[in-house]
């Protein structure tokens, strides 16, 4: 992973799709083999470029979902109905296909497993992807940093990595998580339906007094609402790192 920090300009590289896994009805994880890939820092992204036969090309940024490692990376792509890139990635792309990308990108929105924590992660929808890389990096490194994920989703059907998160929250001591359901909750469960709120962000041991490093990722409106709630609750704006995605992410 340290190699990701080595000085050098980014160039476009062509990887090969090794595997595609459905995460939900509309989101797929794409496993890409890329010999020579240096690994990444948890939280980084890549740019993916598609080029048509006539030379027209379009590119989008996607967060890396996997734990850092050489020669292989995983992206999770949410299909956007009117997207220009994501429908190709989720519906057309198959194992064996080439995929052009550049990265790893970004040294700001990253978590280093050498940091002792605590770390508060706040995800809106597919904003969970780079945070999942941090959670996986923590597990892979055997880090004892206390981690908490607050994950806002429309409904249980839209949860990414549900089984993996459940497993990690049970076996890896020091990782806990809470869901926020904005449209509907699990059948039969009595859970509050609504937007992210101060109560869920201020669980016992996770108030501003604990001074966690904070990473927030999601659509722009979600990120700004979450950051405002945390600043109002006394968190130092200087420890809150944010990553927004928007319509051009499709």
């Amino acid at each position: 992973m340290a190699r990701a920090a080595v000085l050098g300009r980014l160039t476009w590289q062509v990887g090969t799709v090794a595997e595609i896994r459905a995460e939900t009805a509309t989101a797929h994880t794409i496993v890409i083999d890329l010999p020579g890939w240096p690994g990444h820092a948890a939280g980084q992204h890549v740019d993916v470029r598609l080029t048509a036969d006539d030379g027209y090309s379009v590119q989008r940024s996607y967060s890396i979902a996997s734990a850092p490692g050489p020669d292989r990376l995983e992206l999770t792509v949410q299909r956007l109905e009117d997207g220009e890139v994501s429908p190709y990635l989720t519906d057309t792309l198959k194992p064996g296909y080439p995929l052009e990308l550049r990265g790893p990108i970004g040294g700001w929105f990253v978590w280093d497993p050498a940091e002792p924590g605590p770390v508060l992660l706040v995800a809106g929808g597919s904003g969970v992807v780079p945070l999942m890389s941090m959670i996986r990096a923590r597990a892979a490194a055997g880090s004892a940093a206390p981690f908490r994920l607050v994950y806002s989703v429309r409904s249980p059907e839209t949860v990414l990595y549900a089984a993996g998160l459940e497993q990690l929250s049970q076996v890896a001591g020091g990782f806990q998580m809470s869901y926020v359901y904005t449209r509907s909750g699990p059948p039969g469960a009595k859970v509050r339906i609504g937007r992210l709120n101060p109560v869920v962000l201020s669980a016992a041991g996770w108030t501003s007094a604990a001074a966690p490093a904070v990473f927030i990722c999601g659509p722009t409106g979600f990120v700004e609402a979450a950051a405002n709630l945390l600043v109002k609750a006394g968190h130092d704006p200087g420890v809150i790192k944010t990553e927004r995605f928007g319509p051009s992410g499709g």
């Binding site: 300009r9 740019d47 940024s61 040294g107 929105f109 790192k241 928007g246 319509p247």
Partner: protein, 88 residues
């Protein structure tokens, strides 16, 4: 569309030009003097190229446009840029 993303989205385009990461670089806004990681700037992607604005005062701090094998970079909104130079 008038929604913004943030400075993390600058990383790819500027990473092809510079050998250091721009998102973790601290830029001082030439308008209001606030110093902040470029990753926290507000970035508008619906203009030609990318336009980054200061999170504190809203003034343009950086514009970059790439087309036809050339890049145009306007950084007059940044009075000083502090870059990490790993390994040195």
């Amino acid at each position: 569309m008038n929604t913004h993303l943030d400075g993390n989205v600058l990383g790819g385009t500027l990473g092809e030009i510079f050998a250091v990461d721009i998102t973790s670089a601290v830029g001082q806004c030439a308008s209001c003097g606030t110093s902040e990681a470029m990753g926290e700037a507000l970035v508008y992607t619906d203009a030609p190229g990318l336009v980054a604005r200061c999170r504190s005062c809203g003034e343009v701090v950086l514009r970059v446009n790439r087309t036809g094998g050339r890049a145009w970079l306007d950084m007059r909104g940044i009075s000083c840029l502090e870059l990490r130079t790993p390994g040195q």
